[in-house]
């Protein structure tokens, strides 16, 4: 492609970049308006953005409560995912045991079984176990949902760890659990970070699993909270926009700081295949 062609391609690309950014800017702008300003003119940039809507959404509507719920569930789920994923990943990549092939294939197959396919019986099973509408229930549901992905990426990452390192650690007198704790966990840090951030994004952004497994209003996660906000504040759009903004900020920060790790995690699946 010549110089002129490249300039030509830059035009639709710039327009698309605008289309990518504008929706969020518009929402942020609306969130800064009073209800009256919004009704009169929703488009022009606010001269003096108001923080009241953010405060209303955070305290008055209960987004604070929802954010705590989300944070609690996501932190527990990701910690468990990384622990179970790295244990299984270590065993699958370096140890020989009966059924390892079946387990790995099972994880791959599970990637093609979406949540919607199993959600009806899953809710029944969790209800029988008294797990519906509890925090451990939602944590377990997330772990079950994203564990195959986590195991898959951890296994393929650990497969690149040289066998000699494992052997050396064992000569030093480590048990296999010791090898996992002292060699695999530290060496796996980049992959754990990458997979952990992706898992956190999946859990934080989920709405369907949370709706089904933790349905009661005081257990709402932030994303479920946003959907309920829509009904409650249909007339007060600026407060709605403020709520949306609050729910979007954490992931935007994650993106800002960990863009490379997110991209690594996304592409690991593609290039390892």
């Amino acid at each position: 492609m010549g110089r002129a062609g490249r300039r030509l391609a830059a035009v639709p690309m710039a327009l698309l970049a605008l289309a990518t950014v504008y929706p969020l800017l518009f929402t942020a702008n609306v969130a800064g308006k009073t209800r009256r300003e919004y009704v009169l003119d929703r488009f022009s940039p606010t001269g003096s953005p108001h923080a009241e809507n953010l405060v209303t959404a955070w305290t008055g509507v209960g987004m604070a409560r929802y954010a705590v719920n989300s944070l609690l569930v996501v932190v527990c789920a990701v910690a468990l995912l990384l622990l179970l994923g790295s244990m299984a990943g270590f065993a699958l990549s370096h140890l020989r045991f009966r059924g390892s092939g079946a387990l790995f294939l099972g994880c791959l197959a599970a990637l093609f079984v979406p949540f919607q396919v199993i959600m009806v019986p899953l809710v029944r099973i969790m209800a029988d176990g008294g797990l519906v509408d509890t925090y451990p229930g939602l944590v377990l549901a997330y772990v079950a949902q994203f564990l195959p992905f986590t195991i898959f990426l951890m296994t393929s990452y650990y497969a690149s760890v040289p066998r000699e390192l494992v052997d050396a650690a064992r000569i030093d007198g480590n048990t296999l659990y010791g090898v996992h704790r002292r060699v695999m966990l530290p060496l796996g840090a980049p992959a754990l970070l990458s997979v952990g951030i992706l898992d956190a994004l999946f859990c934080w952004n989920d709405v369907l699993i949370a709706l089904l497994v933790m349905p009661s209003p005081e257990h709402r996660t932030l994303m479920v909270g946003v959907t309920s906000l829509r009904g409650q504040y249909a007339q007060d759009v600026p407060v709605f926009a403020a709520g949306v903004l609050i729910a979007a900020v954490p992931v935007l920060l994650l993106h800002l700081f960990f863009q490379r790790q997110i991209a690594d995690g996304v592409t690991a699946g593609a290039t390892k295949g």
Partner: protein, 330 residues
């Protein structure tokens, strides 16, 4: 990718050795440093022999109880009745009812429309990645900007576009400013599905873009350079160098995009249309949710789940087949 349950990474890869193929220290017996070390370890050989099973046990437990068991149960469940007939075998009744339900048929028809739109959803990030790879002015900036909607929840994307696509919202105002009429983006049954797919593409093309760029990074640049030296036009380069060189990446993006469309539109539908107007944006996953969560028809929902599972199975097998074929080519 990645959205609840959606972003499936790749299929069994040749590059990923499973535990069985990889030589590992045999504990307890045998020679070599590992064997001797194991004998020295307190607790003895038996604990060490069990160690791999202990390491995978928690994961296996969770997966069997909350993934495999529900799958088996669900298929079984779809042959039983709802309400008064709860627990009794009803044969294929649920499937017959699905077939007769105009809403489910609409959901299947809409799935067909999504499949037809698939090439567009793959071509957009593919072309953008090509431009970025060819170092269009500002390519670094675009790479960062394009990716950011991909981290947003479908709920957030849907809520934002609810504001943008309102009848008196910014998009219609821009259209009117350009002398075109306003469009009822979410209320017109002929338009709503395309609107929702458009928002879905807006929210996910960054993921596919990143995958494409990784494919480009692994592409043999000498071919691209040769095409440049030969003075090949851009369309010719695209067709003869880039598309064949990226065939595996393109297949991968095709399948992940398909899975994304089949399984991660729920958040958008829930926030933007509720499956309406007149079922115009109903999809199987939304139908399952309505029957389970709203209509209290879990057995019917389980039957719809089984149909969705079969659809996914076809997609999965298609990918494995394609990969096998491309594996033979290389």
């Amino acid at each position: 990718m990645p959205r609840a349950g959606a972003s499936a990474p790749s299929p069994p890869g040749a590059a990923v050795p499973s535990g069985a193929e990889r030589g590992a220290p045999r504990t307890g017996r045998g020679s070599g440093p590992a064997g001797r070390a194991a004998r020295r370890v307190a607790g003895g050989a038996r604990g060490e022999r069990l160690a791999p099973y202990v390491l995978v046990a928690p994961a296996v437990l969770v997966l069997v109880a909350l993934r495999l068991w529900p799958l088996v149960l669900g298929v079984n469940f779809s042959f039983t009745g709802d309400g008064a007939r709860d627990g009794t075998a009803v044969g294929l009744d649920n499937y017959r009812e699905l077939w007769r339900d105009p809403l489910f048929r609409s959901a299947l028809r809409n799935t067909g429309t999504l499949v037809l739109l698939l090439p567009v959803a793959v071509a957009i990030p593919g072309l953008l990645a090509t431009f970025i790879h060819l170092r269009v002015p500002g390519h670094r900036f675009y790479r960062g900007v394009y990716f950011f909607p991909a981290v947003l929840s479908p709920v957030i994307a849907g809520a934002i576009f609810n504001l943008l696509l309102a009848y008196d919202g910014p998009l219609n105002r821009a259209l009117e400013g350009a002398g075109l009429g306003a469009v009822d983006w979410l209320g017109d049954p002929d338009v709503a599905l395309f609107t929702v797919v458009g928002v879905h593409v807006w929210a996910t093309f960054g993921m596919a873009l990143v995958v494409f760029l990784a494919g480009f990074a692994a592409l043999d640049t000498s071919l691209l350079d040769a095409a440049k030296v030969d003075g090949a036009s851009f369309p010719a380069t695209l067709r003869h160098v880039i598309v064949p060189g990226l065939s595996r990446t393109i297949q991968f993006v095709f399948v992940t995009t398909m899975i994304g469309m089949l399984t991660s539109m729920f958040g958008l539908l829930y926030v933007m249309t509720g499956g309406g107007p007149e079922g115009a944006t109903h999809l199987p996953e939304f139908y399952i949710w309505i029957q389970q969560g709203q209509m209290d028809r879990p057995a019917l929902a389980a039957a719809a789940s089984t149909v969705l599972f079969l659809l996914m199975l076809v997609v999965g097998l298609a990918q494995i087949g394609l990969l096998r074929r491309s594996g033979r080519e290389h």
